[in-house]
Symmetry: C2
Subunit: 337 residues, 2 copies
């Protein structure tokens, strides 16, 4: 059904189109790639490819352009991820190694990725549900107000101000703090709710209301909001890529964290690259864009995801190489800090 040569033709079309951004015709193909057949033969192949939906011609008598389906086949079977050179790796490593805290790691990562790929980079903070408690802190701010600070083993620091129902003496707070840390230290965040549930019974009854308030805020912090913390960079690259096609829609999507989360997707396998091409992705405003994403983590566990967003006609092998390389190094840095 799909000849070996037809595949070669498809590959050539994708490569040419990506680099020139112009529909590619049979003659140009015969010239630039040594396929050893005549343009007429290529035309026949293209005809078949078009019938099966891999390519498409904008108008009669224009060259062909790959469809989403065509890119998909290219990514799955016709290309291989382009690995980074040693020099490039070192550059990444040294650039990321300079970061002193999680915020800076993430910030540098997203910029690096944007610069390497010349596209929009998206990085998710290490997911809370996949982290564990490293420390819980209670800081009295006023008589009836406490700041709750949660530090995870992935370096995230979450804070919330808690308004207490009534005044609580400082030493009660200190005691609760000690108990919390003793109980929760090292505890996976996912299992915090259960552990916390039976906590009030082990504390003086006088403090119950305050404790209940604090704990409820703690739980809220875990599940409700900060789960999805995402940053992006490199939007200027969008403007450079001449596709003004729905630039507005793309920018809007980027500012919606929920959409972003769904774009990055999920995989179980840590080392796997996810590629979503054009209409495959779950948001209509992004019909002309593709997403290349990967999970990253320290050791064997996926902590979160990062990726790149660009026009469907992007250089997949290079982009995939960059995303994979950066994901690996972030994992290493994270493990070491």
């Amino acid at each position: 059904m799909l000849d070996e040569r037809k595949l070669a033709v498809l590959r050539a079309i994708v490569e040419d189109y990506v680099s020139t951004n112009e529909p590619v015709g049979s003659k140009a193909l015969a010239d630039r790639h040594n396929l050893k057949v005549s343009p007429a033969t290529i035309r026949n192949d293209m005809r078949d490819l078009e019938e099966q939906g891999y390519i498409h011609q904008p108008h009669t008598s224009a060259g062909r352009v790959p469809t989403d389906k065509g890119y998909r086949l290219f990514v799955d079977r016709l290309s291989q991820v382009k690995p980074f050179t040693a020099a490039e790796r070192r550059a990444i490593e040294t650039f990321l190694a300079g970061a002193v805290d999680l915020d800076e790691i993430v910030m540098r990562t997203v910029r690096l990725l944007a610069q390497l790929t010349r596209q929009v980079a998206v990085v998710q903070y290490p997911s809370l549900t996949k982290s564990a408690v490293r420390h819980v802190e209670l800081v009295p701010l006023a008589e009836r107000r406490v700041m709750l600070v949660l530090i995870t083993n992935t370096g995230r620091v979450e804070q919330r101000v808690v308004d207490l129902p009534d005044a609580v003496p400082d030493d009660s707070i200190a005691h609760l703090r000690a108990v919390l840390n003793a109980t929760l230290d090292g505890c996976a965040l996912a299992s915090v709710p259960e552990v916390v549930a039976e906590l009030p019974t082990r504390l003086p009854t006088a403090d119950r209301p305050a404790v209940a308030t604090i704990l409820s805020v703690l739980l809220e912090t875990l599940v409700e909001r900060h789960e999805e913390k995402i940053v992006f960079a490199g939007t200027a690259n969008l403007a450079a890529a001449d596709f003004s096609l729905g630039l507005r829609d793309v920018l809007e999507a980027l500012e919606e964290q929920v959409v972003l989360m769904r774009l990055l997707g999920e995989t179980d396998d840590l080392s796997e690259l996810t590629v979503r091409i054009g209409s495959e992705n779950p948001y209509s405003g992004l019909r002309g864009t593709s997403i290349v994403a990967a999970g990253y983590g320290s050791g064997d566990k996926e902590l979160a995801r990062l990726g790149v967003l660009g026009p469907t006609r992007m250089d997949y092998p290079v982009t995939m190489g960059a995303v994979r390389a950066v994901a690996r190094y972030v994992g290493q840095i994270l493990a070491g800090s």
Copy 2:
């Protein structure tokens, strides 16, 4: 030199051009604004205005467009800030009041501002140098590693991981923590360096190296990096405004925090609005854009700044009203939390 009527003509030109985005001619002016004079007279006035550099015609036989100087005069003398209605204020208030911590306040503010003005909003976090210490926390992570957490009275939480020169027992850490808090609580961040300088002498000599390391990181945190923490939102509005003029440059500028900082500028007077028009602002890529900024703070002190960035041809009265209103309410919210 500048007739009352000429000023009226200039005002009319600015208003018309802002709303139509097309060069405005003498006839249109005479029709739409009841200036009670004939087009010919207006032409004479426009001639003068052009000679003095307030307006400009793209080509012979096209209408006139305001120059930066023209907008400047308009902002300074020909317009008044449009106040918000009670309903709008309530909307702002309730929207901002729902925030639970500083991150969320800032996030909501920047989105609100972007939505109100339909432009790009920029918000700076409360400046560290203008805050005071509320609490310092030291969390042992490993034998020779400590996390330093600094909480300010403006709600900012800064964290840094510190690698110690040698192992320090937990109770030494606890002691240092206690001393630090006792010494620094309520201390203005600007004066922390002096206060800290004499601290090591008051601690056991055995801990000196570790203490020195921790303190140097603390000082570094204060001055070096996080001083300028800035977020922005609403870039999609840029794409909507048809000015594709240097959209790329604008996006690039937005991702440079240093540039952003300088854009927001500084004023001593809290309630003052700063307007930078086109070429007035300090970055060449933003020649076609204006910035409207204001300081915000709790009480009488300016904590940081926020503002809006849009095409030079923006509706200044409305934008200025929005920026001023949002700045005020953020100040209130901040004071109350």
